[in-house]
Symmetry: C2
Subunit: 258 residues, 2 copies
Amino acid sequence: MNILLVYAHPEPKSLNGSLKNFSVKRLEDAGHVVRVSDLYAMKWKASLDADDSMDRRSDMRFDPALDSKRAFETGRQSEDIALEQDKLRWADAVILQFPLWWFSMPAILKGWVERVYAYGFAYGVGEHSDARWGDRYGEGTMAGKRAMLIVTAGGWESHYSPRGINGPMDDVLFPIQHGILYYPGFDVLPPFVIYRTSRIDEAGFSRIRDALGQRLDDLWNTTPIPFRPQNGGAYDIPQLTLRPEVAPDQVGFAAHTG
Amino acid sequence: MNILLVYAHPEPKSLNGSLKNFSVKRLEDAGHVVRVSDLYAMKWKASLDADDSMDRRSDMRFDPALDSKRAFETGRQSEDIALEQDKLRWADAVILQFPLWWFSMPAILKGWVERVYAYGFAYGVGEHSDARWGDRYGEGTMAGKRAMLIVTAGGWESHYSPRGINGPMDDVLFPIQHGILYYPGFDVLPPFVIYRTSRIDEAGFSRIRDALGQRLDDLWNTTPIPFRPQNGGAYDIPQLTLRPEVAPDQVGFAAHTG
């Protein structure tokens, strides 16, 4: 299988760097083909702007969505964007690996999402009608591919527990797992999360490596998070609210997992 | 009062640009002093890296937290970071204005947070003991200051309702309002959110301006979101989970609002 690892940490000699190297080797040893987008090493341009189209005109009003649509349709996207889209098309599975900074992904990775996820590629895909609201949330360009997060956090696991002060990790990651991965069609596997990263000793690192290796070995037979497909009957369209009979008394992120 | 508006949109001739100009004028007309950090116009460096310290050594391992701590303590931070920290110290209120891209803030603004929120300035502040876990979540450098989000979203309001497919807007914004603003001590006002931005006509824009103007007029007498202070007795320390008697049957983000 083809696996794309999108990796966002500035220091190769870090826990993240070690785990990235470990993952590449483990996957290659299992016979997979691995490509790594090492965003810091690539000096990835983080900020979405008019330069993302080769047809940029400084006298024209820049519209982030419509200019992205035009550049994508006409093959006039900035080359770094087109290359990452090719990697996504090529991949059978995509892993995003990053440290959790301020309860989300690092800016450089957010900027990879914003720029690579073009209109017509990751959003604005498919028909909009009374019965469908585009190919998204379970359908879209990434349908049939798997995705998984590898996340490191400085805080304790209890701080991210159901009643922990930072909010439950599932909810902290929902905008990424549901909003960035499930949205264009990925099947999203449960995340691999490492807590309290400043206190990991040799034995701890060895346990983490074993657990991560197991998750990588199981990439093709782990059950994805059962998010509800948008066009599968659970939602009223176009309001896109859960139908009354679905998870009847639930509100919030958890209601979108079946 | 002194107000800092941190603004992240690439196009001045946009809805966001118009609202930013409107807000500055409204606040100045009311006698406030306003400074704007227009991140795109400033070509703000989005990616946190070793260059954020003037003492960068390419032969040394870069540690995002410890290098930030050292540079902050010794006054050796990159100048753009120190200037933004000065603005935050100066401000009585801070407004973050941005379009919601992939269910979070644009990368350029995320990178402002990551770089300006230095160790010792916005985190790693205060004593850690059995009774306290740092000055954060209601305490810290920003204590006594107010903060508010102005957010534009392409989707419909129903898509962000309690049972809407994107998740409730309060939950989507929790990592920012609680995790980025309340964390270093801001009192966080309810957000001003504009939906379905591609379908706003003249009359709609006029209504939005009026509503936003009212919110700006009320900046000093709007009741903040009642997030629970970390060190106020609601949490067991150091686990930082809600004590059993607090919101006894609740889990998730909403449990942290009293």
